[in-house]
């Protein structure tokens, strides 16, 4: 039976987390939701850029500005590192935060002692950064012989271009994911966000879990080198094999085919409202029959051009014109409900507001969990998209809290994990080690 006291799958696993931005933090967020204790190591003088990047969580009564609505200069003037909105997307899972200056000898000593007490060290700096601080993999192993070290950076730690840097759109361009979003024979539209920050993060979590399994079997730790490129090469499906087996490139006329996937009608159709759309996707004869019945057998559906799946695909543009005219006067959710009840795959094109305010499925599944963070208060936040019957994932982690304010758990971590006295902690603060 599951109750509030149910264990997390990763109960007792401690992760010392040096990750910043999205990619690495996505990985440790997953681990935190699964019950791991995640300690974010941060710096007050060089905060994680997503802590000071717009959009900002507004003060009560204030209207926030979107990304691009504020400049770096405005960001630098910010008094607080706790209002950067995107930070709250990537740092659920009950992460705690400690600020440590790795360049201060006493600070470095704190980090070394934390490594000794940790199962996993994660980081997303450029290759070589931790080593320059005196925390390279060999040192980590000396401190904790079975340490699991998972590095996550654009090009990984080895290889001729390991000094290259990526953001999501960079990696998406290089691995072909950008190319795969677009209408036929136009320049790629690409993704307007960093899909590969997420994918890279999933594989980072996969790497940690793989290493934990290996450690259970052998007692040994390891270094897992996660780049932002390798996690993406399998996402184009058979396109790679089409080249290695058939010599055919996916840089060719008519590809990618927009939203068409081999069926018809299939795509996004304008619905009632301003920039409102609904997806209808008939890929089988059964879908088409159900679609025709749901619409009440309008005469155009009996057109000979639409008699078979093959002929519908062949005349998809003509068919789309009829479907578009039908959808244009209807509410996107009404279309979805009508067609779904009839057995046709269909769905409203939902934006973020729809998902938070309207989507009954996300609400029923508890997709958003309202959690409080110290400075910004309560926000509806996301965790992992699955449930587990015996070890339920928790978006607030084992401490049921929103993402941490910068350095807010400093003293608690030093007390709980390193068993330091109040006097020792005060001494470290005085020495400037904890900033």
């Amino acid at each position: 039976m599951v109750d509030a006291a149910s264990p997390g799958a990763l109960d007792g696993v401690r992760v010392l987390d040096f990750c910043r931005l999205g990619f690495g933090s996505q990985a440790t967020m997953i681990l935190g939701c699964l019950g791991a204790e995640v300690i974010r190591v941060e710096s007050t003088t060089r905060p994680d850029p997503i802590r000071v990047m717009p959009p900002f969580v507004p003060e009560p009564g204030e209207v926030g500005k979107g990304f691009g609505g504020a400049t770096l200069a405005q960001a630098q003037k910010m008094q607080s590192p706790n209002r950067g909105g995107i930070f709250y997307k990537y740092n659920t899972g009950g992460k705690r935060s400690i600020a440590v200056d790795a360049r201060n000898p006493a600070g470095l000593d704190v980090l070394r002692r934390l490594v000794e007490q940790s199962d996993v060290v994660t980081e997303s700096f450029a290759a070589g950064t931790l080593a320059r601080w005196g925390l390279g993999y060999e040192t980590l192993r000396e401190l904790r012989p079975d340490i699991i070290y998972v590095s996550m950076c654009g090009y990984g730690h080895v290889g001729p271009d390991a000094h290259y840097v990526t953001m999501g759109p960079t990696a998406q361009a290089l691995t072909g994911l950008t190319h795969l979003v677009g209408l036929p024979d136009r320049e790629p539209a690409g993704w307007s966000f960093s899909y590969l920050d997420h994918v890279g993060g999933y594989l980072g979590a996969f790497g940690v879990l793989t290493a934990l399994a290996y450690r259970r079997a052998t007692g040994e730790g390891q270094h897992v080198d996660v780049s932002q490129l390798e996690p993406a090469t399998a996402l184009g499906g058979a396109l790679l094999l089409d080249r290695t087996v058939n010599g055919r490139s996916s840089r060719r006329a008519g590809f990618p085919p927009g939203n068409r996937r081999g069926g018809a009608p299939q795509g996004a159709y304008r619905a009632l409202g301003d920039d409102r759309w609904v997806v209808i996707s008939c890929s089988t004869e059964a879908h088409w029959q159900a679609f025709v019945a749901a619409l009440g057998h309008p005469t155009w559906t009996a057109d000979a051009r639409f008699a078979t799946l093959a002929s519908r695909v062949e005349n998809a543009d003509e068919l789309d014109a009829f479907v578009a005219a039908w959808a244009a006067t209807r509410d996107r959710y009404d279309v979805m409900e009508l067609l779904q009840r009839a057995g046709v795959p269909a769905g409203a094109v939902q934006d973020a507001a729809d998902r938070v305010e309207r989507d009954p499925q996300l609400a029923a599944r508890g997709h958003f969990t309202t959690l409080a963070s110290t400075e910004v208060g309560e926000l509806p936040l996301e965790g992992v998209p699955f449930e587990m019957s015996e070890t339920p994932p928790r978006t607030g982690g084992t401490i049921h809290r929103g993402p941490p304010d910068l350095g807010e758990d400093c003293d608690a971590i030093l007390r709980d994990v390193l068993d330091l006295s109040d006097a020792e902690i005060a001494g470290l603060h005085e020495a400037g080690a904890l900033q």
């Binding site: 990763l10 696993v13 959009p55 507004p58 400049t71 770096l72 909105g85 995107i86 997307k89 990984g156 080895v158 998406q172 691995t175 072909g176 950008t178 209408l183 320049e187 790629p188 539209a189 690409g190 966000f193 899909y195 920050d197 994918v199 999933y202 996969f206 934990l212 290996y214 390891q222 390798e230 996690p231 996402l235 184009g236 499906g237 058979a238 396109l239 790679l240 058939n246 490139s249 996916s250 996937r261 795509g267 159709y269 996707s281 795959p345 269909a346 769905g347 973020a352 507001a353 989507d359 009954p360 599944r365 965790g383 998209p385 699955f386 449930e387 587990m388 019957s389 015996e390 070890t391």
Partner: protein, 379 residues
Amino acid sequence: MSTGAGALGGLRVVELVDEPVEYCGRLLAGLGADVVKLEPSDGAPSRHAGPYVDGRDGDLDASLNYWHFNVGKRSVVVRDDDTIRRICASADVVIHTLRAGEAAARGLDHEALAVQNPAVISCAITPFGLTGPWSGYLADDLVLMALGGSMAVCGYGTDDPPLACWGDQAWLTAATYGAIAVLAALEHRDRTGEGQLIDVSAHQASASMTEWHVMTYLCTGSPMARFRHPTVTARDGKQVAALIPDFLGPHVFAHLLTLLEADGVAGPLSDPAFEDPRHRARGYGELMAATQRLAERHDGEELFRLGQEAGLPWGVIRAPDEALDDRHLIARGHFVDIDGVTHSGAPILANGSPFRFDRPPPRLGEHTDEVLTELEQRA
């Protein structure tokens, strides 16, 4: 790279899936698990999807789509649910795509499997999860990308439709989360002996992959519009994602200026006024225009490397197969030869436990006799 035993060596995984989530089993196979794929006598749906090996269209053993997602697995043709139940009950992990009602009707729900094998881990990957008002609804990847939110923000702008990425990105994300959840459940099982049911929602997976959109809505009260990420066009016509992430610090503009001045195309950016980030924010169009002038002097691959050598996160927009020629991926040993065919390999590089495929993609039913014999021997 390690050549030793995989992290999941000895683990028995059974895969019974109709939806495109075979990537989950592929990931576990790479870690050394024995992944047995159960197929109907006319083959899994993925065998019926192309592209095929040229000249073998429709040949169920020649679907490259099947090859890609099923490399490293064994294939067993099963004709009755009784055999399916016996095979599933003997496994450590069962991955399936059955809705709640269907699983129960066929005696393949977690409760039924756990009666015979309390340590079994069931991983159900379904469009909307096993519960909730939409749990009976139908979805392919297009529907999942619409409801999840990616489509609303990807495309050319409001004159053109919202676009979903080609392929099954929502399903692949759900499959990846399935593998993560299975690994977590194994951690718990090894500690307690207890199995459990994992319930992955592809809709939630799709909704949670959209980066800044929910937070932007929560912060500003408005959802973000659909837009195309800016690019520049190189001399050879290739598009290059020439990112200028000024928000990361003043070093970004300094790197860019060095690059532009070396080619004599900095123009107004050499004006010291651009040292002020507020001035740069107002003059962002000038930054992009100068970068476009630079782009016209170089081919795409060259421009991306010039940017990277200057410390900028630039990337040329390649077709997926063009990554095969990337010197860095090649040097990292990413592409692997399996029976004379080059596949994409390990998604992570581990120096202890390897990620590798020990078997080529199986022919339909290739391992039926072998697996059924093993089953009898264990009984």
